[in-house]
């Protein structure tokens, strides 16, 4: 079994999925099932006090089957993110958090300075911190030093579907990372997820690529297979790249020579 461990928890699936942007809860449930994911990330938001429809996201997620990872999506300062993480811990009864501190509205790139600061605070409070960061090896190292349980560099901007933009940076991060490396954001289609895994990522986290697909349930399955395929390819040790051909048939015994 090719298991994957973060902090004190072990997973067999290397695909982590979100819960946003689905056209209906039923489609989300089917997509989660098809993805084979064991960890699902959820956002923390104010309860609507004036209009409390009784439906809760938790009505649709079987928490005996999935591990809930509260996130701080939408937070723009370390202070906001820390407050949201603390609330998420109380609402979810787990000390894990996918830490996001956004620095720019248009690109949704993280504010790494605030991110490192929030990581330090939350690690001191015994959180298992999984920070969403840029694909910058120096920032990733700072996050590790701050006590992050994993590092989650983006492949491309959130929701962009552009795929892995800086393959070399991810290779460098892979080389130096001492904690699990999760590519978070930017995946558009199955080959992007496979590439992330072939580069040596321990897991891939995605939301829009599945939820926004025309057939989210089929795409969820495609992503499951891609992550598995990419992982196997990484473990198998690919052949070196060469400029010229090398025949795979014997050169002896050719007819007419």
């Amino acid at each position: 079994m090719d298991l994957f461990t973060i902090a004190d928890k072990t997973f067999s699936s290397r695909l982590i999925v979100g819960t946003g942007k689905y056209s209906s809860p039923a489609i989300m449930v089917q997509a989660h099932d098809a993805s084979g994911a064991e960890m699902i990330t959820v956002a923390v938001r104010r309860v609507n006090i004036s209009d409390r429809s009784k439906e809760s996201l938790l009505d649709y997620i079987d928490t005996s089957k999935y591990f809930l990872l509260p996130n701080t999506a939408g937070c723009y300062t370390a202070d906001e993110a820390v407050r949201t993480a603390r609330l998420g811990r109380e609402a979810g009864l787990s000390n894990w958090v996918k830490l996001e501190v956004i620095g720019d509205e248009k690109t949704l790139f993280p504010d790494n300075e605030q991110l490192v600061a929030a990581t330090r605070i939350l690690v001191r409070e015994d959180f298992v911190v999984l920070p969403y960061t840029t694909d910058d090896p120096v920032v990733c190292r700072k996050l590790e030093d701050a006590g992050a349980a994993a590092i989650m560099p983006l492949g491309a901007p959130i929701g962009s579907g552009l795929g892995i933009q800086n393959v070399n940076n991810l290779r460098i991060i892979r080389e130096f990372a001492r904690v699990p490396l999760i590519v978070d954001a930017g995946v558009g289609t199955a080959s992007d997820a496979a590439l992330a895994m072939e580069l040596g990522a321990d897991a891939v986290l995605m939301n829009t690529a599945i939820a926004g697909a025309q057939d989210p349930v089929a795409m969820a399955e495609a992503m499951k297979l891609a992550v598995r395929a990419g992982r196997l390819a990484f473990l198998s040790g690919r052949i070196p790249r060469k400029r010229y051909a090398s025949a795979s048939s014997p050169v002896e015994g050719l007819v007419g020579r």
Partner: protein, 74 residues
Amino acid sequence: MNGDTHEVSGPLTVSELLAQLQIDARRVAVEHNLVVLKREAYDRTTVREGDEVEIVNFVGGGLGIRDWGLGIRD
């Protein structure tokens, strides 16, 4: 409460507040004057006039959503 003024009938505990709002305490988390409360504290924490209360739950979201934050920048 959650960024808006909300009138309640006199000082009451967080448990009573949630009950009055018909909110299932098991599904939410509560922050009282910037302190996140443990569930065990709901019965002994009193909400008074002028207090700030945030009540949150989980919603669908993956990454980077900015529809309604915690309102710290409100």
